[in-house]
């Protein structure tokens, strides 16, 4: 665990030489493309896994995403970040995989909210400065994975793209094909629901 007080960061994944690498890859330079793959493979795998919830599907959809990215590089015009473009391909590949496996279970529409749903958190308590350090890495990973897995897909997708994959709100909207206000609404619910799920583990004085 590092930098527990780091702020959510929108653009740490981009390096200065990315444009040159993309240009070289477009010319068919496989080494340049492999370098781009190496930079983003961990993030794309995590994204694929968060969508498919299955190791095998995550691996397959990640491979398909990178293959498709290389084959369609000519279509990347540089209007957006390469990473955003890549994420959009990876989301599509992972969703296709998921729909094939569970055709009737996947809906990215927002679940119906009860009228007047109260989002106001209750029974609040301080978490202390670095609450995650109370747990060993394996235990922490289990807590984080269990909590995110319990979220409905629309909320999980918004959180994973915006907060885990570090897309901007606008990029998240574009990748999911929904409006910016819809992303904000889903993100608010996702963040508050996760906060609530993590609370029993991280509060300074266990309840």
């Amino acid at each position: 665990m590092n930098a527990p007080n780091a702020k959510p960061l929108p653009s740490t994944v981009v390096r200065d030489d990315e444009g040159a690498l993309v240009a070289a890859a477009k010319r068919g330079d496989l080494d340049a493309f492999q370098e781009l793959v190496s930079r983003y493979e961990s993030k794309i795998y995590r994204l694929s896994w968060n969508i498919t919830r299955n190791k095998e599907d995550a691996e397959d959809s990640m491979q398909d995403a990178f293959l498709k990215a290389f084959q369609h590089l000519d279509g990347f015009e540089g209007g957006s970040r390469f990473y955003t473009w890549l994420v959009r391909i990876a989301v599509n590949e992972a969703l296709m995989k998921l729909r094939k496996r569970r055709p009737n279970q996947i809906s990215l529409d927002e679940p119906v909210q009860a009228d007047g749903e109260d989002l106001m958190p209750r029974d609040l308590q301080d978490w202390g400065p670095s609450p995650e350090q109370k747990y060993e890495r394996t235990e922490l990973n289990r807590i984080l994975t269990d909590a995110i897995e319990e979220l409905d897909s629309p909320y999980r997708m918004a959180f994973v793209l915006r907060d885990v994959s570090e897309l901007s709100t606008e990029e998240t909207a574009e990748a999911l094909g929904i409006s910016v206000p819809a992303v904000k609404s889903r993100l608010l619910r996702a963040r508050l629901k996760l906060r609530q799920k993590l609370d029993p583990f991280f509060r300074s004085k266990p309840s």
Partner: protein
């Protein structure tokens, strides 16, 4: 701004997407409301913990198969 206003603007505030006037208004409320300070703080930590954690590391064998597949399938593509 009241507590419900803080919830409504929470996402924009944490993402630093709130205009200066609204942010100052929200922070004035936080100064006097411990409950909302805790909501902002623990929600921010929730995001940071997920951001910094690596709960789904890329296994070395998966990484190796990815690069092998790319090399084999793209090496002949262009």
């Amino acid at each position: 701004m009241n507590c419900r206003g803080v919830i409504a603007e929470l996402t924009s505030y944490l993402d630093e997407a709130l205009d200066a006037v609204a942010a100052a208004d929200l922070e004035r409320h936080l100064d006097g409301c411990k409950k909302c300070r805790l909501i902002v703080d623990t929600t921010r930590k929730t995001i940071e913990i997920y951001c910094n954690a690596e709960p789904v590391p890329l296994p070395e064998d998966v990484r190796a198969r990815l690069h092998k597949a790319l090399f084999e399938r793209l090496g002949h593509a262009r």
